[in-house]
Structures are given as structure tokens and as C-alpha cells.
Amino acid sequence: MAKQIDLLQGTLDMLILKAVSLGPLHGYGVLLRIQQISGEQLEIQQGSLYPALYRLEHQGWIASEWGESDNKRKAKFYSLTAAGRRQLHSETEKWNRMASLIASILRTKSEQI
């Protein structure tokens, strides 16, 4: 197993929104999807997943619905709401700006000052 990276503080919500934006998922599915996209490099604390899901639902960014899983079992599926889509968009933009800013700071060499 490749060495795993701990999740940055506050990014779990954003990752959940992204995962769900690709199609409705149940809780365990969200976990698998994030791990899969990250190439198994991200470790998500299973205990923190559900509070985050419920919090997002509480804020109205995702909605939940009971449905049937692949193995024919009853499961709760989460999907992105319109408000959630807007939120994901603005979070992504903020993240990108922040990332490029920090990257440019880190690239800075002494002669550039």
C-alpha cells in the first residue's frame, strides 16, 4: 500500500461534495470514491465521514434518499443540491487560488525578492 497522506483540515467537506457531484452515492461509497480518485493515497477517518455528511445535509448542500445498493440492500444515497453545486464551485475556486498562491510563494527564490 502506498504511503497515505492525511487529509488537510477542512478539506473533507469539499471532497465529499466533489465525490457526490459525480453521481449519487451512499456513505461507504463516498469513502470508496474518494480513495479511488486519490489513487488510494488519501486516508479518510471513517469516524469523521458521517458527521460531515450530516452537517452538509443540515446546511442544505446535499440531499439524501433511501435506495438500493449494488448488492440489493437498503442504503442511504446522497446527491448534490443546487446550493451544493454553487458551494462546490466557490470552494474549488477558493482552493485553486489558495493553492497557486502558496505554490508561487514556495517557488520564490532569493533573487526574486
Binding site: 458521517y50 458527521p51 452537517r55 442544505g60 445498493s69 442511504k76
Partner: protein, 902 residues
Amino acid sequence: MNLLTRFRSWLKWMVKRRRLESEMETEARFHLESYAADLVRKGLSQQQAMRRARIEFGGIESHKDAVREAVGVRWWGELGSDLRHGLRLLRKNPGFTAVAILTLALGVGANTAIFSIVNAVLLRSLPYRDPDRLVRIFFNEPGLGLRDVRFSKPELDDLLTRSGVFEDATPIFSGSENLTGVGQPERVEGVNTSFSYFSMLGVVPQLGRLFGPQDFMPGFAPEAVISDGLWRRAYGADPNVVGRTIRIDNDPLTIIGVLPRGFRHPGPTTTADAEVFGAGGFSGDPFPPPIRGNRVLVNGIGRLKPGLTLPQAQARLTAMAQELRHDFPTEYAPQAQWTIEIQPLQGTLVGSVRPMLLVLLGAVVLIVFIVSLNIANLLLARASGRQQEFAVRFALGASRARMVRQMVTESMLLSLIGGAAGIATAVGTLGFILRFVPSNVPRLNEVRIDWVVLAFALLISILTGLLFGLAPALHSAKDAFSSSIREGGRGSGYSTKTSRLRDFLIVSELAFAVILMVGAGLLVRTLRDLLQENPGFSPTQVVTANTWLGVANDPKTDPYLNTAGRAAFDREVLRRMKAIPGVELAAITSSIPITNSNPNSVGGLPIEALAIEDRPVESSRDLRAERIRISPDYFKVMQAMLVRGRTFTESDEDGKQPVAIIDESTARKYWPTRDALGRRVRFGEDPAKEWTTVVGIIKDIKNDGLDVDGIPHIYVSVFQDSNKQVSVVLRTSLPANLLQPQIRHAIQDIDPSLPVFNVVSMNDILDRSLASRRFSANLVGGFAGLAVFLASIGIYGLLAYMVGQRSREIGIRMALGARPGDILRMFLRKGVTLAVLGIGAGVVVSASTASLMASLLYGVRPHDLAVFLVVPLLLFAVAILASYLPAWRATKVNTIVALRES
């Protein structure tokens, strides 16, 4: 919008909590099983996979808890479990629970009941249109020390036109009237006013119409408006009552309207509410010509123009009075300093009962304080017992805030249960309590438990809950910090800090008890002094009855217009009274002692101007006396003491030399340096009137009430000088209720149109006159007793607890040779220290606040030495007794058992 979403989600959690919780569980299981299935696929055994999944996921309960916290509903669940825990604790300690809830119910119930009265009487606005603009108008002569003197029609007109501050103003004549023509002749309270009275108050009739400007006439209108009560009682709520004729004091009046049910005339509380309303112009017959000097109008009330403040209006009126004094120098003697004063109507209506109600409110608030201190004490004792529980929970990671919250929840639960019980008590007993409230408290019919009262009760409950819950809660939580499980074991939880807090609670409880007892002591002493006061006559075996000869608007119909007609009636009444078997003596008076509380009203006794022979005329206007008309045997019936001279005889009659008898204080006041016998006085301001000669002096009679230092009284013979008020006093050993039919029969035999009312014994009159004082003395006294009881429970409980906690120490001391006396002294010393501190603090506070009660006292100073000596001693004795019992038990501690137990 976001907020709305959250709120909706929160609401969903509140409402569908059970379903959401089970869904959470289903979801968690699905997760666990899916994960385990994946692990099995990776090669683990079913059992290993399940185990690993559980470890990584964590417990389902803690998972649910984390979710709840994320959504912000965790506290709700905790509240639920705290409440359940609290209820369980209450059930587990039935003794504690019963004491706490009972005392709370009493405290909150007393507060609710008293506050509902205060709310109706003092706080709620008068039930009239724009009540804030209604004022009572007083004409005063401060130079002569007179307030609320009569005024004349021109002066009333000045108020309306010249002052520019009144929208309306009217004098109010209220008093007894004879109602005839419907069944038994009945005596009713009548009110006569200007035609604008009802529009000034903003009243709408339930039937017919009310008086208005179109009815104007100089004298009295031949019409009447009746109250809802009279309409129902006398006319069976007949919808066709309008247009019928009612006879009031023999005048036929046409009923033009019926007042709405809740209407009450805003006047001083008399024996009954006003039921017949008449109106007049005050400028024609029977009124004297409307000139400035003819001052016959009384009790002005008015409505201020909108937008005018009271001080502005007052300033304008003061200025106008000054102008008038300047414009009419002959009408206003300069030394009288005649002036006009206005007061909010509400204030003047409740004036005299305000201090009483405030003192009662103060008493119930003190009681609820003591109750909560007492419960705080019990809770602290319990909290010390729960120390270990808290220490364990603290060690397991409970936060201090969480523990404080739990304890506060528990005490709030207790206080709300107690509060609900208190409100129920108040609702259930209010009617009963109101029966004991003296009837001179106005607006009692408006007393009810409304939202304001309920809000007050809730507030009191919450405050007491916080008071008795927070201190012990903070304390135990703090203790849980410092102490630890290591101390563990039994009963080591009583730390110095907790002990100091409990001491403080006991000391405050004692101090509050002292304040209540001092208040009660002062009130009881006033009452006792009044009961022992010599009224100047012997009230036992005296029965009184009243009739009223009526003041007809048309003099031609009045058989009692002149003295001769009235004297004939009086003689006939006396003859028939003496003929009643069991009546030893009978006499007539125009004023039964003690009942005469409203000297300005018609039917009561006007305070009259008086001239004294050989006195300079300038000073004659400051002489005032109350003239009481009596028949010869009056002093014999009342067993009053003649000091010098003679009493009246049958021959002191019309046409003979007018004679008078005065009491000792009148003699002292008006003839301080010479013998009053043989001196002459003249009533009224008319210099042509005959002089009246003083022929006798009697010992003072308390005519205006036991607690009133009356104005001078002058007695005249009813055969020479009488009025329409005829009261009989009988010396008899028969009770009033037995005599009533015979008295009624005798009087109505002479004149069937006369009502006979208030047939009561003189003792009952004395008794009733003290009803208000007795009520407050009993109530405050009862509360004081309760306070002492609670405080002694507090001391007893504290010491008993200490003895229990320190039984091992006692055992060791005794084993080392301490004698029982030493042990006894050790605990007694504690009790004495607390008692001295608490009582001392209470005495200091009482001494500095007692003067607030001055207006409720009579003949007793607020710093009455006896009260301030007896109360501390009594409470000290109780405190010692309460500490002696546990201390004595300490000496009985069995050394062996105590040592073995630990």
C-alpha cells in the same frame, strides 16, 4: 435562506427524531457490513473482517453522538437524559422531593396569589378610555391644613374654561339612596355627576343610552342610568327596562340606560358599588345659586387634554388658582392659600392600600427567598453525597460545564414542578384568599390569574430554580475538580468550601426570617394596641341599624324636610325600639362610631366651619368640627363617660335654647385656657344664625376609627338639629341577626318607603374596621412563622448532617476522653455562631428598612424596642433548640461502632 434550511433541518430532527436515529443506525450497519465484505474479499475471515471494521468505524453509539453534535441537536438529547436522570433522583428521595415541592408550591403559590392582587389593584390600568389622562382634582387650603375642600359651580367652570387643561371635569356626589318601587325598599349606592361623566370615562351602555350634553338642565335630570347588577337583581335583566320609572329617594326617575357588566364607578370604595347614576347641572334647584362662595360640590375628577403632562397641567392650575385669589380677594382668605392639585386617578383610588399590598408582596418575595435558600441547602447536602459520582464522571472526561448543566437542569426541573404546583395552588385558592382580603381594597373584582400573573409566576420559579440550583452546582463541580476518587469512600466529601457556603445559606435564611418576623411583630403589635385601645364607649351588647330619610329633589314631596318632621319620626322610632323585647335602651345618632370614614361624602358628615364666641373673626375660618346629632340616651347606650355638665334631655328641642356637648379634646383644642362649659359656638358661616351653648363635656369617643386621630366633635340634640341620616343604637343582650326583622318591621311600620340596612353589632363594626390590619398582620405573621420553621429546619439539617459526617471524629474524641458535654458544646457552638450572625444581620437590615412600614403602623414606632428585642431572642431560642437536638445526638455516638465503621 441558509438559516431557514438549517432551521427546517433542526425542526426535522426535533420532530422525527426517533426515525432519524434508527435510520442512522441502519446506515452505520450498512457501512460496517459493506466494509467487512470488502475486507473478506481481500482475504480476511468473516470474523476478523467484522472486528476490524468495528475498530476502524468506532462504536455505533459514539458515531450517533458525533452526528448529533454535527447537526447541533446533541444538547437536546442530553437535556432529555438529564431530565430523566433528575426525575429518577427525585423519585429516589421522596422525602427531599416532597419537602422541596411543598415549600416551593407554598412560596410560588403565595407569590402568585399576592401578585395577582397587586397586578389588578396597582399595576393594571383603570378600565376606562385613556386612563392615564384621568385625574382626581383636589381643592386645598394648605394654610389651614385642609385638603380636598368643597368647591363651587363657578370654580368648576374655571376648571373647564379658564384653566385650559381639562377636556372634562365633574364633581361626584356619592352616597346612600333609597330605592323604592321594586320589592323591599332597598338602600343603594348612588352617584350624581355632570352630564359629561360617562363620555369622560368612555363608557358604552349595554342597553339604552347614557347621559349627554343634550340632557342638560340646571338641577337634577329626572332620569337615571342603572348598573348591570341592579338591572339583573331588581328587574330580572328585563330587556325593556328602558323607559321604566325607578324611585330614588322618592323621586321618580326614568331609566334611560343600563351600564355594561364590568363597569365600576372610579370612586372610593364604599360598602357597595354604585348602582344608580344621576346627573345634574349644579346651578339650579336643589343647588344654591351658582355664586363663588356657595361651595357645595365635592370630589372632582377630570380628564386632561391630550398631550398634556401632569406637571404641565399642575403648573397651569397653580397659576390659575393664584390669579383667582388675586381677582376675588373677598372669596379667598389670604391665610387659607387656596389652591388646586391634581393626582392620577389610579393613584388616589388605591392610595391607602398601596403600602399594605407592597408590604405583603415584600413578605411573599422574602418567603420564596427563604424557600430557595432552604432547598439550596438540601441540595448542597445531597451534592456532597454525590461527590463521588461527579469525581468519577469527571475522570471519565465529562466537562465541568456539562456537569453544571446537568445539576442546573435537575434544579430547574424541581423548581418548575414546584412552580406548577404553586400556580395550581394559587388558582385553586385565589377565590378563598380573596374572601379574606378586606373589602376596602379597590378593584378586587378585577383580580384574576392572567398572562401577566402567569409570566410572573414562571419568572419566580425560574429565578428560584437558578438561585437554589446554581450555587450548589458550581460548587460541586469545582469540588469534583479538586477532590478526586482517591478520597473516595464514604462521606469525605464535605469540604471546607461547601461547609462555608452552607453556613452562608443558613445565615441568610435566618436574616430573612428576622426581617419577616420584625415586620410581622410590628403589624401584630399595632393590631393588638388597637384592639386594646379604649374607644371611649363600651361596644359589647350594642346593636346598630341604619336608615336614610332620602333627599328628594322635589322638596314638596319630602315629609322630613324640617326639624319638626324629623323629630316626630325620631321620637316614634325610639318609642318602637324600646318596645322591642330584650332592648334595654335605645338612642339615635347621625353617625355610628368607627363607620364614619368618608366625612366629605353626602350622607357622611361634612366637616363644618365653626365660629366661637369671643374669638377674633379672622381666625374663625380655620375652625372645623364634626357635628353629630344624638338623642338624649345616646351616651347611656354607648356607656360613654360624662366628665362635667349634663347630657341632653327630652326638652332640648326645637325652639328652646340650642345646646351642645363636646368631647375633652375639642374642649382642649378650642378653649385651652378656660372652662368650655357655658361657652357658645355657631355652626356654618352665616353670622345671623343662633349661638349654641356648651352644656356638657364627655370623654373622647373614637368616632372616625380606632386608628384615626379624629377632628373635633360637637354633639347636638337630634330634636333641635337633625339630618337625614338616622342610625339607631340599642343596648341589648340579643344578637343583631335576631333583632334585624323587628327593627326593620318597626321602622317600616312608620314609613314603608324607608330601607333598613347594616344591622350589626358594635363589636362587629370594631372588628371590621380592623379587617385590613388583621389581614396583613395575619398574613405576614403566618409567613414569619413559616420562615422561622424553615430556618430551624435549615439549622437542624446542617448540624445533623455534620454530626453524621464527623461521627468518626466524635468517636475518636470520645475514645481519647472527651466528655459528652464537650461534644455537645462543640456542635452547639456552631449553631450559636450561625444564629448570632444571621440574627445580627437580620436586625441590621430590619432596622434600616423598618421605616418603610411606617404608614401601616399606628401607635407603634417602626423601631419599636419590644419587637426588636423579642424577635431576636425568640429566633435565637428556636435556633438553639434546633441545634440542640443533633448536638445531643452526637453525644450518643457509639465510639466502637463509629470507629469500626470507618
